[in-house]
Amino acid sequence: MKITLGTVTHPGGSRVNKTGSWRTASKPRFKHQACVACDVCALVCPEGCIFGTGQNTYYANEDYCKGCGICAQVCPVHDIEMIPEADEDG
């Protein structure tokens, strides 16, 4: 990998940095039961790593999710919960 002067890169070049490893305790689990596709979780995510295209389709990209839990806090239908990092079913 080439490091240019001033670390100039192509747009989105920082995606190679998989910062999800900074998560320490918990991660969000999208239950996909009561989702109304309001998109609030995606809008408030500080990392911009939550995506979805309709009801019960939302997910967090764990390569970048820091486990802050804001999505679980704001979900109006309580369809997101924070689970221990070690749990398989994220």
Partner: protein, 395 residues
């Protein structure tokens, strides 16, 4: 006949800045820098320079504006002093890390508290670790000459680092001296338009100053360190080009004045070298082998060139207007490192003078030289008022 015009230093520096054709200028007024940017804003308002003069609410913003403008790919200029430079400091480091060839003048002034608007060199010395090239001028004409060279050095594709031209507050920008400024045609022939390697461009988008994790950050520091070392030869090359283009010498990394057979060599930066040269002449008339090496390029620190120039000396006497409190003067510390473990081992003494505008007199300089010939000094304060009671020290 003397060539040039009688100009206030600030006016000369503003005219030289305009001759370099910056496209964006941003600065916030602070004593003693204000005169320079006042003159520049007038030059822009009069339509004599095609540039954006962007007014901002503080120095952090001024530095951020020139960072952004340089990233878009144009030549820029800013100017500050003291607290203003400290407020810029976060951006100062970013500009260097992003390898943007921003050029600024630091009009050297002491740092608060206590509030003091007079000259020393503490403000720019603090920035020595930032990745900026630092050039210190002795007089107004040299400040202008170095400003022109700074653009050429910074924008050289082998360098691509910002450069700070430092001049002593009040002593230079507020003084009237004869300054021989080149013509626009001469400047244009010497300094080609800025040709960025990378720029922000909507047709060819890039990300600049991106995140670097522990796997990459260290390499970016190494790249600047290596480039700093290589830029020493670029600085010398540009000084030679300047000399052949404008018919007067420019010294490059440092100026040697009666150094070659000297057993005692004073090392100093900036305007105080003028007084020291007079002392050197006087002492030479009395048969003392004394000289002065006036350091122009403080960053990168020209270690090998200094070793070569000073290895025959018995005493090196550093006189500086800064102090790393709790340590030593910055230049003395660097100079000792040049000689450590090497064959030549002159006695190196460090003295602190002229802080906060305290006069540096001929007698101060003579006393200092004499002291250094008899004992090694480390961060000795010269010119303290003995009649003052200092709470916690002697009262």
């Amino acid at each position: 006949m003397v060539k040039g015009r009688m100009l206030q230093g600030a006016r000369a520096m503003a005219e030289m800045c305009a001759l370099c054709r910056p496209k964006v200028i941003s600065a916030y007024p602070i004593t003693p820098q204000t005169l320079i940017v006042e003159e520049l804003s007038q030059i822009v308002a009069d339509g004599d320079l095609e540039a954006e003069f962007i007014n901002v609410e503080g120095e952090h913003s001024a530095a951020s504006v020139v960072l952004g403008a340089a990233a878009v790919g144009v030549r820029v200029f800013t100017c500050s002093s003291s607290q203003g430079l400290l407020l810029m400091s976060e951006v100062i480091f970013n500009i260097a890390g992003m390898r943007l060839p921003v050029v600024m003048i630091c009009v050297n002034r002491s740092v608060s508290a206590p509030l003091n608007i007079w000259n020393d060199q503490q403000d720019s010395i603090i920035m020595r670790d930032s990745g900026w090239i630092q050039l210190y001028a002795e007089n107004n004409e040299e400040t202008c000459d170095l400003l022109l060279q700074a653009h050429k050095i910074a924008e050289d594709h082998r360098v691509m680092l910002p450069a700070m031209v430092c001049c002593d507050g009040y002593v230079l920008p507020h003084a009237y001296e004869i300054v021989d400024l080149p013509s626009q045609a001469e400047v244009d022939a010497f300094l080609p338009p800025y040709d960025p390697i990378y720029k922000l461009d909507i047709d060819n988008p890039t990300t600049m100053g991106a995140f670097a994790d522990p796997e990459k950050y260290m390499e970016t520091r190494y790249m600047i360190q290596e480039t700093m070392k290589k830029s020493l030869s670029v600085i010398e090359e540009v000084a030679r080009d300047f000399g052949s283009s404008f018919g007067r010498s420019s010294y490059g990394l440092f100026e040697k004045y009666r150094v070659d057979d000297a057993s005692t060599v004073v090392v100093a930066l900036g305007s105080m070298a003028g007084t020291i040269k007079d002392v050197v002449d006087e002492l030479r008339d009395q048969g003392e082998k004394v000289g002065i090496l006036r350091l122009i390029c403080y960053r990168p620190f020209p270690k090998e060139a200094l070793y070569e120039a000073l290895s025959a000396a018995e005493n090196i006497v550093i006189m500086e207007k800064d102090i790393s409190l709790g340590g030593s003067g910055a230049v003395a510390t660097d100079m000792r490192a040049v000689f450590y473990g090497r064959e030549a081992c002159p006695r190196i003494s460090g003295f602190i003078l002229g802080l906060g505008g305290r006069d540096i007199t001929v007698d101060d300089i003579k006393t200092t030289i004499s002291k250094a010939q008899h004992q090694v000094a480390d961060a000795d304060f010269v010119g303290l008022k003995e009649d003052l009671e200092l709470e916690g020290i002697n009262g």
